[in-house]
């Protein structure tokens, strides 16, 4: 747990942005790992298996939030930057705020691909195991994500 907890936490945090949400999800993730470690078939690395569980838990949490929440102005990228600025656990500079706003213009899966490649420096092969998607599709997704983010930030 000690070895992977930080990496997995940050991965989840980048998806959910809020610390309390990330805290709940990461705890659920490790409880699930504890209960199902005997089912780990060693067909993939432990690292990618853990990432897969964490990703699925985060996506489930996001979907639950979307079902509960009524669409509001806080859901767009500007609203999100306001939320981040107001967040006690966000101390980013303007550059980081812009990046977060840009990331929130991406579809969830594309954002995920970008985070895993850009922040976690994961190889496409490992990413394919985590997201159950082909390497080619992941490369295309990452390339599009980078272009979109650059365009968004340049336009600010």
């Amino acid at each position: 747990m000690q070895k992977y907890q930080e990496k997995l936490y940050w991965h989840v945090r980048r998806m959910l942005m809020d610390h309390d949400d990330a805290n709940d999800v990461i705890q659920n993730c490790f409880i699930k790992v504890y209960k199902s470690i005997h089912r780990f078939e060693r067909k993939s690395k432990l690292y990618t298996w853990l990432y897969r569980i964490a990703t699925n838990e985060a996506i489930t949490h996001l979907n639950k939030q979307k079902k509960k929440a009524v669409a509001s102005i806080d859901d767009d990228e500007i609203g999100i930057s306001h939320r981040l600025e107001a967040d006690a656990y966000f101390d980013g500079e303007e550059a980081q705020l812009q990046l977060q706003r840009a990331l929130n213009t991406l579809p969830d899966k594309q954002k995920l691909v970008f985070n895993l490649r850009y922040f976690d420096e994961m190889s496409y092969k490992e990413m394919a195991e985590v997201l159950d998607t082909s390497v080619g599709a992941l490369k295309a997704s990452y390339h599009h994500a980078v272009k979109k983010i650059e365009q968004y930030i340049r336009a600010l």
């Binding site: 747990m1 000690q2 907890q5 930080e6 936490y9 940050w10 945090r13 980048r14 942005m17 610390h19 805290n23 990461i26 705890q27 490790f30 409880i31 504890y34 981040l84 656990y89 966000f90 101390d91 980013g92 500079e93 550059a95 980081q96 705020l97 990046l99 977060q100 490649r117 850009y118 922040f119 420096e121 190889s123 390339h143 980078v146 272009k147 983010i149 650059e150 930030i153 340049r154």
Partner: protein
């Protein structure tokens, strides 16, 4: 290391603008000592869940255990297997009994009429007269009596032919 270099090179090719931005600080923070406390938080939750699940499970007596096992056997996957075994046993019994009946019939067919008659004569007291009478074929019995009586007549004729006149007169 190679992977990091590859990723860096890839980003430089895709977007020199983005590759120049520092990414060591994303802006997100955590409470003090969060990662040090996180394992304990997780273990506390696991223990709490395990305590809740064991305390909510009701104690069962032997009858409940039997009922539980029967219910388990009635689940589809087990019920199918049991039904298949039951059908197999019933079919086996059915064919086994048929074979036995045929065997009896075949065995009886191999016994000759002479052996049967001999057995009946030796064990006459074990048979009821009425059943024996019923078993006799009247038509064949009459023919048999006729043929026996005709052979007797022939026998007597032969004896008479051998007698002299004087002996015949003495007999009369």
């Amino acid at each position: 290391m190679k992977n990091t270099d590859d990723i860096k090179k890839e980003l430089e090719e895709l977007s020199p603008f983005l590759s120049k931005r520092k990414k060591e600080k994303e802006g997100f923070e955590v409470p003090t000592n969060y990662f040090r406390k996180l394992p304990d938080l997780i273990m506390d939750r696991i223990q709490e869940e395990e305590t809740l699940s064991s305390s909510s499970a009701p104690t069962t007596n032997w009858l409940d255990q039997i009922i539980e096992r029967i219910q388990l056997l009635l689940q589809p996957q087990y019920a199918m297997a049991l039904a298949s075994i039951a059908i197999f046993i019933m079919v086996s019994i059915f064919f086994f009994e048929q074979d036995n009946a045929l065997l009896g019939a075949n065995t009886l067919a191999e016994v000759s009429d002479e052996e049967i008659n001999s057995y009946v004569m030796d064990n006459l007291e074990e048979f009821e007269i009425d059943l024996l009478m019923d078993a006799i074929d009247e038509e064949n019995l009459e023919k048999e009596i006729e043929s026996e009586s005709s052979s007797d007549d022939d026998y007597l004729d032969n004896i008479i032919d051998d007698l002299s006149d004087k002996e015949l007169e003495e007999l009369m």
